[in-house]
């Protein structure tokens, strides 16, 4: 168990800087999710903490100890990889025991630890199997078991659920969360899936092209996004961005963001905005309505499934509570003067 600190962490490949300085203090036992689209540097960030990538500038501290020059094995971390990275020729037991064997842990203790981990992960009946004889979810559990038996100070997860089908992903997500709560180990978890980020994180780091656009608790990030990128990335369907100048007296380039669930449909005369229904997607519990205004702006509205679904081509107005709108400057940063 340990704290993790990143101090102005940077990474360059050759002349190209791909991570432009990330700072965060992670408390002991905290679950941090690093989320962002592919190519934003989130995996590289994690791999720098793991010690699999060298640090170009800045410092990684684990438990207060600078570890920039320390080999991964000596950092007291364990990592779960996207493709599980199980040793194909070893049994489940040997896969989990391998790190301990190298660490010269006594045989009896290895057995106890592996069996305890197998118990937690319901892998007991499979200990003698080879990875290829397991399903995707079971392989994922073995990869986690391998991390658990080491009793590390920090867990690192690199998109561990992206190879599982949707249903299993939801189940494993809950299991990971429960496991982390139970063991209380500081965790860093990389994902491109904002739902995973929202559900797992104590705090999340939203990465955009090598910078941490926002760091905060999921609901804080959702309710109070710092940039258009964060506002558009977190939440599905994404936030609507409208040209503020078309709606109110605002300087050019300022955009006004409003989440689909904040908008209500009304008659044309009552709306702050009016448009034609381009298409409607009834999903059962909710209906997504895509509205197009006369000047070509798009607006998505999410309304309860019990409400009547408007026909395509209907002209309707849209209103929202001004307290639920966000204004962003031309550089994409939030304009704070309205709060």
């Amino acid at each position: 168990m340990a704290t993790v600190t990143l101090e102005n962490l940077k990474k360059s490949f050759g002349k190209t800087e791909i991570i432009h300085g990330v700072d965060i203090d992670i408390a002991d036992g905290e679950f941090i999710v690093i989320v962002g689209p592919s190519g934003c540097g989130k995996s590289t960030l994690l791999r720098m903490v793991a010690g699999l990538e060298t640090v170009s500038a800045g410092e990684v501290l684990i438990g207060g100890r600078p570890v920039n020059g320390v080999e991964p094995m000596d950092r007291d971390i364990a990592m779960v990889f996207q493709n599980y990275a199980l040793y194909p020729h070893m049994s489940v037991f040997d896969n989990m025991a391998y790190g301990l064997k190298i660490g010269r842990v006594p045989k009896a203790e290895i057995r106890t630890r592996v069996e305890a981990a197998a118990e937690i992960l319901q892998l007991g009946p499979y200990l003698q199997r080879k990875p290829r004889e397991l399903s995707g979810g079971q392989r994922q559990r073995v990869a986690m078991g391998r991390a658990i038996v080491r009793k590390p100070a920090v867990f690192l997860f690199d998109e561990p659920l992206s190879n599982l089908d949707a249903k299993l992903r939801v189940q494993m997500r809950l299991e990971i969360k429960a496991l982390q709560r139970k063991l209380g180990v500081t965790s860093l978890y990389v994902t491109h899936d904002q739902v995973e980020a929202m559900t797992l994180a104590d705090r999340m780091i939203v990465m955009n092209e090598g910078t941490a656009d926002q760091i905060g608790a999921p609901l804080e990030v959702y309710g109070n996004p710092a940039t258009t990128f964060v506002a558009g990335f977190i939440g599905s369907p994404p936030m609507n961005f409208l040209d503020a100048a078309a709606l109110e007296n605002a300087p050019a380039g300022v955009s006004l963001g409003v989440r689909p669930e904040s908008v209500r449909l009304v008659g044309t005369s009552e709306g702050r905005l009016e448009g034609t229904v381009a298409y409607a997607e009834p999903l059962g519990a909710e209906t997504l309505i895509h509205l197009r205004t006369a000047d070509g702006q798009a607006l998505t509205i999410r309304q309860d499934g019990v409400l009547p679904v408007p026909a395509e081509g209907d002209r309707l107005g849209a209103v929202w509570d001004p307290s639920q709108e966000f204004r962003f400057g031309p550089d994409g940063r939030r304009l704070r003067q309205d709060r």
Binding site: A50, L52, E71, P72, M73, I77, A78, M79, F81, Q82, N83, A85, L86, Y87, P88, H89, Y98, G99, I102, G103, K130, P131, R132, R146, R150
Partner: protein, 284 residues
């Protein structure tokens, strides 16, 4: 099986013709071997007096016994042993060296890595025959004439095997090496614990190919061994042919030829089951 025609299977006359073609082909290829076997079981008189017999005679034990224990220049048992040492030495040595060099080239970044790779690759262009004179010079000045090291070492470097292992290692996911690194495995530990067991199918296949390569070496043993007791069997057969007007002891020569074929066949058959199992078990 009867009523649902398979997609590729041919039916009726086609299948008979195919089999007929295959059987004739096999007989055609097998016939000389059969003749050699027959010749190894009859007496010298039976061979030299036409027509040549087509059915085995009664001298099998006598001829093979004579070949193994006495031979013509050296006992065939001795030559078989020499060949086995050479073939196994070459196969094991080539695999050991090439797997290590492939490991270095794929997993380590050192200056000149690409140059070394291309240098190894370049040796593919130079078969033994082309560099035979300088190689002989070197072997001779190291005092390796008439020795097992002289038979083995000059043939031991293998660009082909290095290249094959390189290609295989490049298909091993990087995550595996990283997982081992996080688990605390130093490079050589990763090599022995993870990479080597994963390569066993490739190793088995290469062993078969390289064993036969070593076993069938002809020119190099001919040059490097002058002492009959160091002859290998493939070149030894040629040495058995008489010079001048002496009569050839055909039954013994034929028995030797048959004996020379058996170990490679045994290796192919034996290793085949092993590497087919490896292929069936192949990991994802």
């Amino acid at each position: 099986m009867a009523d649902r025609g398979g997609m590729v299977q041919s039916r009726g006359l086609g299948i008979w013709l195919t089999h007929l073609g295959l059987i004739v082909g096999i007989l055609f290829i097998f016939f000389p071997i059969w003749l050699a076997f027959v010749a190894s079981t009859v007496s010298q008189q039976d061979i030299v007096r036409p027509p040549m017999p087509l059915l085995p005679g009664d001298k099998l034990v006598e001829n093979y016994g004579r070949a193994l224990s006495a031979g013509i220049n050296a006992p065939v048992a001795r030559m078989l042993f020499n060949s086995a040492v050479m073939a196994v030495g070459i196969a094991v040595g080539k695999i050991a060296i090439s797997i290590i060099s492939a490991f270095a080239i794929v997993y380590f970044r050192f200056p000149g890595r690409q140059i070394f790779f291309w240098l190894i690759f370049l040796t593919l262009m130079l078969p033994v025959e082309v560099r035979i004179v300088p190689t002989y010079e070197v072997a001779a000045s190291f005092g390796m004439l008439n020795s097992y090291s002289g038979l083995i070492f000059p043939l031991i470097a293998s660009a082909t095997a290095t290249f094959l292992f390189r290609q295989f290692f490049m298909t091993v996911p990087d995550e595996l090496a990283e997982a081992a690194r996080v688990d605390g495995a130093r490079p050589m530990r990763f090599f022995f614990d993870i990479l080597l067991p994963m390569s066993r199918t490739n190793i088995a296949a290469l062993f078969v190919i390289l064993f036969i390569y070593g076993w069938n070496q002809y020119l190099w043993p001919l040059l490097i061994t002058t002492d009959p007791s160091m002859n290998t069997i493939v070149m030894g057969i040629k040495q058995m042919f008489p010079s001048g007007d002496d009569t050839a002891d055909w039954p013994v020569i034929m028995a030797t030829s048959i004996l020379a074929m058996l170990p490679p066949v045994a290796v192919v058959v034996g290793m085949q089951t092993f590497f087919i199992r490896g292929l069936v078990d192949s990991e994802k």
